[in-house]
């Protein structure tokens, strides 16, 4: 038995992301069961769990790609427009798309989900800027270049299509696209899975740098505990669609409380 962490928050009182009691099923399978999650301004929230634990479904719900049967979702952003101030699940489809295109960035494990593989890399980034209303070609190119540079993409290749790039480079284009509009929330779904170890380290370093320089709130899903340990301030552990434990990253890895978390941490090589 341990103490319940029941003291009221005295420093950081308002979460940027607030999801309450969310449930999502696919047919008879309950992928996410009554999950609540908070992410605070500037922090990195890691979500870990075995395959099928519901972590990627939860991330897609945060990106409003999936709508749950139950639950609420609020984003408390600076200058939150009136249209986005209520339960985001209840917005119409157009408003959801605009919110995702302008205030939420996402990097998928599979770059094909996030990029047009035959368009230029700079064009992929510019597409995001176009949605937000930018129409000047010079501005589009300059802003796309800035975002690619911040993602440590080699600018001499900015006009190459992602189909001609390595996996690590494709992830950087996705990252540039995700941060081009300085989103309030950056979602990362297994961003380094499938990359070789040296490229993985480079992408992780870029993410860490971006987080420190821009104080972007991030939610990262990974089954790689090393990735989560490197990036996350707090960690949420999921199993069979439910949250079994949440804690500071070092506490989860050094003093896990739940039997499943202990099993997961001890299984790490």
């Amino acid at each position: 038995m341990t103490l319940t962490l029941d003291a009221p928050r005295i420093i950081t009182t308002k979460p940027l992301l607030r999801i309450e009691n969310v449930s999502k099923s696919y047919g008879d399978v309950r992928a996410v069961r009554n999950v609540s999650a908070h992410a605070f301004p500037g922090e990195v929230l890691g979500i870990v769990g075995e395959s099928g634990s519901g972590k990627s479904t939860l991330l897609r719900i945060m990106n409003l790609e999936e709508l749950p049967e139950e639950g609420t979702y609020h984003l408390d952003m600076d200058n939150t427009p009136e249209a986005y101030s209520g339960n985001l699940f209840e917005m119409d489809r157009f408003a959801r798309r605009m919110l995702c295109a302008t205030r939420i960035g996402i990097v998928y494990q599979n770059p094909h989900l996030g990029l047009l593989m035959k368009h230029s890399s700079s064009g992929n980034v510019a597409e995001r800027l176009l949605v937000a209303g930018e129409r000047s070609f010079a501005n589009l190119r300059a802003k796309a270049k800035d975002a690619l540079d911040a993602s440590e993409f080699p600018l001499e290749r900015m006009d190459a299509p992602p189909a001609q790039l390595s996996g690590g480079m494709q992830q950087r284009v996705q990252l540039a696209k995700a941060i081009a509009l300085e989103p309030a929330l950056l979602l990362l779904d297994e961003p380094t899975t499938g990359l070789d170890v040296s490229v993985q380290a480079l992408v992780l370093d870029t993410l860490k740098r971006l987080q420190q320089d821009r104080q972007i709130t991030m939610v990262i899903v990974s089954h790689d505990l090393g990735v989560i340990r490197t990036l996350a301030d707090r960690v949420m552990v999921m199993r069979r669609g439910e949250v079994v434990e949440t804690g500071l990253s070092d506490q989860i890895f050094q003093d896990p409380q739940h039997p499943y978390t202990q099993q997961l941490v001890h299984a790490k090589l």
């Binding site: 003291a7 420093i11 922090e43 380290a201 420190q212 490197t230 070092d250 050094q254």
Partner: protein, 239 residues
Amino acid sequence: MTRILDIESLTKGFTLHHLGNELETFNNISFSLDAGEFVLLKGANGAGKSTLLRTLYRSYLPRAGKVRFQSSHGEIDLACAADVDVAHIRKTELGFVTQFLTARPRVSAEAIVAEPLRQASVATDEALDEAREALQVFGVKPDLWKAYPTTFSGGEQQKVNLARELILPRKLLLLDEPTASLDAKAREALVTRLKALKDGGTAMIGVFHHPDDVLHLIDRIVDLTPEYTHSEERSDVAL
């Protein structure tokens, strides 16, 4: 003196689910700490000295008790405070110094040392200047400052770690054997830095394999040996 910390009846144990048993570590630890005070934790191997430090830092969750810390935001009970508050306090007011560096790939020594300053909103150039100065003080050669510490020897990594963890003055520092395996010059630099921080009001709780290294800094000793728990002695009593 200004009170910084009140530890009340702090108890820690571990539940090992795969073995189906409980491991008691320490029970009902109570002591207080004022600004600028240095408390040495004493006790045999396994008495729970490092576990106590990690519990105060909240890497370990306590089973019972209170850790009332006087933060710049008011009193906060680190034993049961919200994770996000603890994370904030760690960035600005509570430090944990070990002998081990958590190096990240492709991050230079000077950038790692500058990181706590950057998190405290110090401008990049200024933070890097201070980082280089700290690396110099701890005896890390200038040609290593831009190199990646993942490839450094254990001793050099330890110096980088000390430079990083002690660069930002904190209200409370937890020291877990920071002098272990340091060369004489770096040990001297460490003690000098600790003395400066102590004079500036930083309170410290430390575990030292060789307490002689910091003898003149110690104000009190807390003995975690079960029969002596709660005892507090003066530093001129034999260690």
